[in-house]
Amino acid sequence: MTIGKGRADVLQGTLDLMVLKTLAVLGPQHGYGIARRIEQISDDVLQLNEGTVYASLLRLRQQRWIAASWGRSENNRRARFYTITSAGRRQLAAQTEDWERIAGVMARLLRLSEDA
C-alpha cells in the first residue's frame, strides 16, 4: 500500500483486502456469504452498500488473486463461488505485513505523544 493514494482507492484497497482475507479463512464463498461475514466481523461499523463487494470481487478476479466457478448455493440456486489463488495468498500475506507494520508504527507514535 503506497502513501498518497486517493481516498476512494484506499477504501477500495481496504475492501479488497477484507474480501481476500474472508476467502482465505472461510474457503470458497459466494458474494452474499462474503458480505455477511464482513458485516459480522466489523460489527456493523462498516456501513457499506453490499453491492460494492461485487466490484471488489471483479477487481480481485482481474488481478488473478481469486478465481470464480459456478456451483449450487444453500437454497439450491446456481451461484458463483470464489476461491483465493496462491497468488492471492501471497498478496494477502504481503498486504497483511504492510498493515501490521504501519499499525505498529502508528501505535508507537501515538504512545509517544501520550507519554510526552
Partner: protein, 897 residues
C-alpha cells in the same frame, strides 16, 4: 496500482470484451441472487415480502449503479458504446435504404469529384520529379521587362558554365529527331546533352559509361549512349553492343554505354523519350546567339532561387563585356525552379478546379445536412426518450455523429471508386495536354496521398453535415417533444430556418460555380472563333530529319524540297505540297532584322519570326495573299534573294509607306545567321504561330534555298524538315503514298510524325478544353444538387403544413392562391441564394481574369443569364410541391393526425 497490475487488469479487460454478453448475463444473475437471499433474510425476520424486497435493495445499494461500475471495470466501456452506436447506425441504415441511397450517392458525387481532381493534383504538383533532389534543380534563363525566357544560346551557356555563381553542374540538353542509317533507315529520337547531364539528372548506366568532358568538346569524336528502352527494343539487351558502332545521320558513332531505365517524361519533347544520347559538343568559344536549347543546373547547398539569381550578376557583366550589345541594358540572368517550369501554368488551372469541386462538395454536404435534419425531426420522439432514459446530451450528439460518420464512410468509399475510376477514364479520352500525367493519364491513380485525402475529406464532410442536425437534436425540449402527437412534431420555426439557411448557401455556391463555368465557356467559344490565319482542314504534316553530311548546303536542302514537292504534285489526291522549317502553332525562330535604307538607332530595327519555306507553303496552308506574290519554284539559290512578310510586320514597320519597295536584311552582320538584303515581294495574312490567344508575331518568310549555308546547316541539325500536304480526299489516307514519294525524292530518308493539321490545332487548345469540360460538369452537378435542395425544402415544408393548408382551403381559399403562396415562399429562399451568389461571384470573378479571353470577369451577359437560369431551375423545383399543395384535400388534411 502499479504499472504491472495495470497491465494484468488490461489483459483481463481484453478477455472480457470477447465474452461481453455472457459476462453481463452472469453478473445479472449473481446480483439478483444476492438480493433474493437478502430478501428471504428479511422475510424470515417477519417482514412482508414487498417491503423485504425494498429493504434488500436499499441494503444492496443501487443495482443499476453497481452494474454500471462493473461494466466500467470490465471490457472497454468507451469503445463498446461506440461499437454500439455504430451497430445502431448500421441498423438504422438498413431500415431506410432510400434515404441512405440518396445520401450516399450525393456524398459519393461530391467526394468523388474531389478525389478525382486531387489525384491529378497529386501526380502533377505534389509528386516529386524522379531525379535526385528535384527541388534543387533550376533552369537558367534571361529576364527582360517583357518576361523571362528559359532558353539558352551557346554563348550564354558558356558564360553560365564558367561563372555559374551558386548554380552547379550547369548542363544543357536538347531533344530532336535523327535518322538511324545503315540498313533500313529509321527515324529515332536523339538527345544532345552535355557530359554533366547524366549526373545532374541521376541517370545511371546499365553497361559501359557516359561521355567524358573531353568527348563533349567540338572535336571530341562521334560517340553515343543508348537509352534503355531503345537498347531492349533494337538490340534485345545484348551486352556486346558497347564498343560497337551505330550509324546516325550517315555517320558512325561508337557506343560508349547504355543507360539504366531513366524517366525523361518531364524533360522530353513531343517526339518522345530519347533513343540515343549524343554529346552536345558546344564550342566554348562560340559566338552563336541562337537560343535553341535548355540549360539546367543544381542549386549549391544553402542557396535559394533568389540568392542564385543574384549570384549570376557577375555572369551578366562578363557576358556584356564579351558580346557587347547582345544583352539589353534592362536584361539580366536568373534561375527558375525546374519542377516549376515542368508544371508550367497548369498549377493555377488545377487550383481553380480544386476550388470548383470544393464548392460541389459543400453543396452536397448542405443537401445531406438537410436530409439529416428532416430525419432528425422524424426521430425526435425516439431521441427524447433516449434522453429521458439517461443518455446525456453528449451521448446523443455522439450517436448522431456516428451515424454521420458511417454515412460519410460509405460516401467516401463510393467517392473513392467514382473518383479514381472516373478520372482515369476521362484522361484516357482527353488528356488535355497536362504535363506529367503519363500517356493517356496512366500515371494518375490511387496512392496513399489520395487515399489519405479522401479519408480526411470524408471525415470533414461528416463533421460539416453531421454537426448541424446533431446540435439541433440535442437541444430538444424533452417534455414538449413527448407531449406532441404523431408526425406533427412541429419542426418549429427555428429548424425550418436552419434548413432555409442551408438552401440559401447552396444556391449561392451553385451560382458562383455556374458563373465561373459560364465565363470559361465564353472564353472557349471566343478562342474557337479566333481565325488561326490558315485552313487546317484537308492538311497533313510529317517530318524528316536532314541531319547528315549530305545536307550541309542550303542548295542541297532546297533540292530535296523541290524534288519532293514535284513528286507529290504528280499524285492525284494531292492538291498542294510544300515544306518548311516550322508549321503554325509549333513555333518559329526569332531573329532581328534591318530595313535597308532606313536610319538606324540601335543594332536592329526590330525582330520577327524567321521561317524558311519552299514554294507552295501559303497555298498548302490556305494563307491568303494580301499584296504582291508568293514564292515559286524559281526562287532558288541562283535567283535574287527575296522575302515575304506578314501583315503584322507590314503594319508595325510601315505605318505609311510601301513594304514592297524595301529590302530587309535578317540578322545583319551576325556570323552564321546573317544573310543578304532581300527584296520584299509579297505580304500575306497573319498566322497564329504560338498559342491562339496571343497576337500574331511579325513574321518573315524566305526561300530555304536562299539562306546562308552555315545557317541552313545549323537548322537541319536543330530541326527536322516539316512537310505539308493539302489533299483532295481524306487527309490521312494518302499517308503511306506520300511517305514513299518523299523517301524516294530524298534518297532514302525516313519520314515520320504523320499527323492531320486539325489534330495539331486541337492539341493546342486541349488543355483549356479539358478544364472547361470539367468545370461545366461540376457546374452542372452543382445546379442539379441545388435544384434538389430547393425541391426538398419546399416539398418538406408543404408536407409539414398540410393541415394548415387544408384549413385554408376549407375556409374557401383559392387553390391557386395556395399554390402561389408556396411558390412565393420557395422562390424567396432561392432568390436570396441567387442574390448572395451574385454578390460573391462579383467579388471572386476577378481571380480568374487571367484565364479569360475577350470576356470581362464581370461580363454583363453572364451575370444576367446565369441568375435567370438558376431562378428558372429553382422555379421548376418549387412547382411540383406547389401543385401538390394546391391539390390537398381539405377533409383528408384535417383528419391527418
Amino acid at each position: 496500482m502499479t504499472p504491472w497490475r495495470r497491465v494484468v487488469a488490461l489483459v483481463s479487460r481484453l478477455r472480457d470484451l470477447r465474452d461481453r454478453r455472457r459476462l453481463e448475463g452472469e453478473a445479472e444473475q449473481e446480483l439478483e441472487m444476492h438480493i433474493e437471499l437478502l430478501t428471504s433474510q428479511y422475510v424470515r425476520a417477519g417482514i412482508a415480502p414487498g417491503e423485504a424486497r425494498r429493504m434488500a435493495r436499499v441494503k444492496f445499494g443501487g443495482v443499476g449503479q453497481i452494474k454500471e461500475s462493473l461494466r466500467d471495470q470490465a471490457g472497454f466501456p468507451m469503445l463498446e458504446s461506440i461499437i454500439e452506436d455504430v451497430r445502431y447506425a448500421v441498423r438504422g441504415i438498413l431500415k431506410n435504404p432510400g434515404f441512405v441511397l440518396v445520401v450516399v450517392l450525393t456524398l459519393g458525387v461530391g467526394i468523388g469529384a474531389n478525389t478525382a481532381i486531387f489525384s491529378v493534383v497529386n501526380t502533377v504538383l505534389l509528386e516529386p520529379l524522379p531525379y535526385p533532389e528535384p527541388s534543387r534543380l533550376v533552369v537558367l534563363q534571361t529576364t527582360t521587362p517583357q518576361g523571362a525566357a528559359p532558353v539558352a544560346s551557346p554563348t550564354k551557356f558558356n558564360v553560365w558554365r564558367e561563372h555559374g555563381g551558386a548554380v552547379q553542374d550547369v548542363s544543357a540538353y536538347r531533344f530532336n529527331v535523327a535518322n538511324l542509317t545503315g540498313g533500313e533507315p529509321e527515324q529515332i529520337v536523339a538527345g544532345s546533352v552535355t557530359a554533366d547531364f547524366f549526373r545532374l539528372f541521376g541517370a545511371a548506366t546499365a553497361a559501359g559509361r557516359t561521355f567524358s568532358a573531353d568527348e563533349d568538346r567540338p572535336n571530341g569524336g562521334r560517340v553515343a549512349v543508348l537509352g534503355h528502352g531503345f537498347w531492349q527494343r533494337r538490340f534485345g539487351g545484348a551486352e556486346d553492343v558497347v564498343g560497337g558502332t551505330l550509324s546516325i545521320g550517315g555517320d558512325a558513332h561508337t557506343v560508349l554505354g547504355v543507360l539504366a531505365p531513366f524517366d525523361t517524361e518531364a524533360i522530353q519533347g513531343p517526339e518522345g523519350p530519347p533513343d540515343v544520347y549524343l554529346p552536345f559538343q558546344i564550342d566554348p568559344n562560340s559566338a552563336m546567339h541562337g537560343h535553341f536549347f535548355r540549360s539546367v543546373g543544381r542549386l549549391a547547398p544553402g542557396a535559394s532561387v533568389e540568392s542564385a539569381s543574384a549570384s549570376l550578376q557577375p555572369a551578366a557583366d562578363t557576358f556584356r563585356q564579351r558580346f557587347p550589345g547582345a544583352l539589353g541594358p534592362e536584361a539580366s540572368f536568373s534561375v527558375r525552379s525546374f519542377p516549376d517550369l515542368v508544371v508550367g501554368n497548369v498549377r493555377s488551372s488545377l487550383w481553380i478546379l480544386m476550388a470548383a469541386v470544393t464548392f460541389v462538395l459543400l453543396i452536397a454536404c448542405a443537401n445531406v445536412a438537410n436530409l439529416l435534419l428532416v430525419r432528425a425531426t422524424t426521430r425526435k420522439r425516439e431521441l427524447a426518450l433516449r434522453a429521458a432514459l439517461g443518455a446525456g446530451r453528449r451521448r446523443i450528439v455522439r450517436l448522431l455523429l456516428t451515424e454521420g460518420l458511417v454515412l460519410s464512410a460509405l460516401g467516401g468509399a463510393l467517392g473513392l471508386a467514382f473518383g479514381t475510376l472516373g478520372i482515369r477514364v476521362l484522361l484516357a479520352f482527353n488528356p488535355g495536354n497536362i504535363p506529367r500525367i503519363g500517356p493517356e493519364g496512366a500515371a494518375v491513380g490511387l496512392d496513399w496521398r489520395v487515399l489519405a485525402f479522401t479519408v480526411v475529406v470524408s471525415l470533414a464532410t461528416s463533421l460539416v453535415f453531421g454537426l448541424f442536425p446533431a446540435l439541433r437534436a440535442s437541444r430538444t425540449d424533452l417534455t414538449e417533444t413527448l407531449k406532441e402527437s404523431g408526425s406533427r412534431t412541429g419542426s418549429g420555426f427555428r429548424q425550418q430556418r436552419a434548413r432555409a439557411v442551408l438552401v440559401v448557401s447552396e444556391v449561392g455556391l451553385a451560382l458562383v460555380l455556374l458563373v465561373g463555368a459560364a465565363l470559361f465557356i465564353r472564353t472557349f467559344v471566343n478562342l474557337r472563333a479566333v481565325d488561326p490565319g490558315f485552313d487546317a482542314r484537308q492538311v497533313v504534316t510529317m517530318n524528316m530529319s536532314l541531319a547528315s553530311g549530305r545536307f550541309d548546303t542550303a542548295a542541297a536542302v532546297g533540292e530535296v524540297m523541290r524534288a519532293g514537292r514535284e513528286r507529290l504534285l504528280t499524285l492525284p489526291g494531292v492538291e498542294e505540297a510544300a515544306s518548311a522549317c516550322c508549321i503554325p502553332l509549333r513555333g518559329g525562330l526569332g531573329l532581328p532584322f534591318v530595313i535597308e535604307g532606313r536610319p538606324l538607332e540601335g543594332p536592329f530595327h526590330g525582330g520577327g519570326s524567321f521561317t524558311p519555306i519552299s514554294a507552295g507553303y501559303f497555298e498548302a496552308f490556305g494563307i491568303p495573299l494580301v499584296r504582291g506574290r508568293t514564292l515559286t519554284d524559281q526562287d532558288d539559290a541562283g535567283a535574287p534573294p527575296v522575302a515575304i512578310i506578314n501583315e503584322t510586320l507590314a503594319r508595325q514597320f510601315w505605318p505609311d509607306g510601301d513594304p514592297l519597295a524595301d529590302r530587309i536584311t535578317v540578322a545583319k552582320g551576325t556570323p552564321v545567321l546573317g544573310g543578304p538584303p532581300r527584296q520584299i515581294v509579297g505580304i500575306v495574312g497573319d498566322v497564329r504561330a504560338g498559342r491562339l490567344e496571343r497576337e500574331p508575331a511579325p513574321t518573315m518568310y524566305v526561300p530555304w534555298a536562299q539562306i546562308p549555308d552555315a545557317h541552313s546547316a545549323n537548322l537541319v541539325g536543330m530541326l527536322p524538315l516539316s512537310w505539308i500536304v493539302r489533299t483532295r480526299g481524306a487527309p490521312l489516307a494518302l499517308g503511306e503514298t506520300v511517305q514513299n514519294e518523299l523517301r524516294a525524292a530524298s534518297g532514302g530518308i525516313p519520314v515520320a510524325g504523320l499527323q492531320s493539321m486539325v489534330d495539331v490545332v486541337a492539341r493546342s487548345t486541349a488543355r483549356s478544353d479539358f478544364i472547361m469540360l470539367l468545370l461545366s460538369v461540376f457546374a452542372g452537378a452543382a445546379l442539379l444538387l441545388a435544384a434538389i435542395g430547393i425541391y426538398g425544402l419546399t416539398a418538406y415544408s408543404v408536407g409539414q403544413r398540410t393541415q394548415e393548408i387544408g384549413i385554408h382551403l376549407a375556409m374557401g381559399a383559392d387553390s391557386d392562391r395556395v399554390r402561389n403562396l408556396v411558390i412565393r415562399q420557395g422562390m424567396a429562399v432561392a432568390l436570396a441564394g441567387v442574390a448572395l451568389g451574385i454578390a460573391s461571384a462579383y467579388g471572386l470573378s476577378r481571380l480568374i481574369a487571367g484565364f479569360l479571353f475577350e470576356v470581362a470577369p464581370r461580363d454583363p451577359l453572364v451575370f444576367a443569364a446565369v441568375p435567370l437560369l438558376l431562378a428558372a431551375v429553382a422555379l421548376a423545383g418549387v412547382w411540383l410541391p406547389a401543385r401538390r399543395a394546391a391539390r390537398v384535400e381539405p377533409a383528408a388534411a384535417l383528419r391527418l393526425e
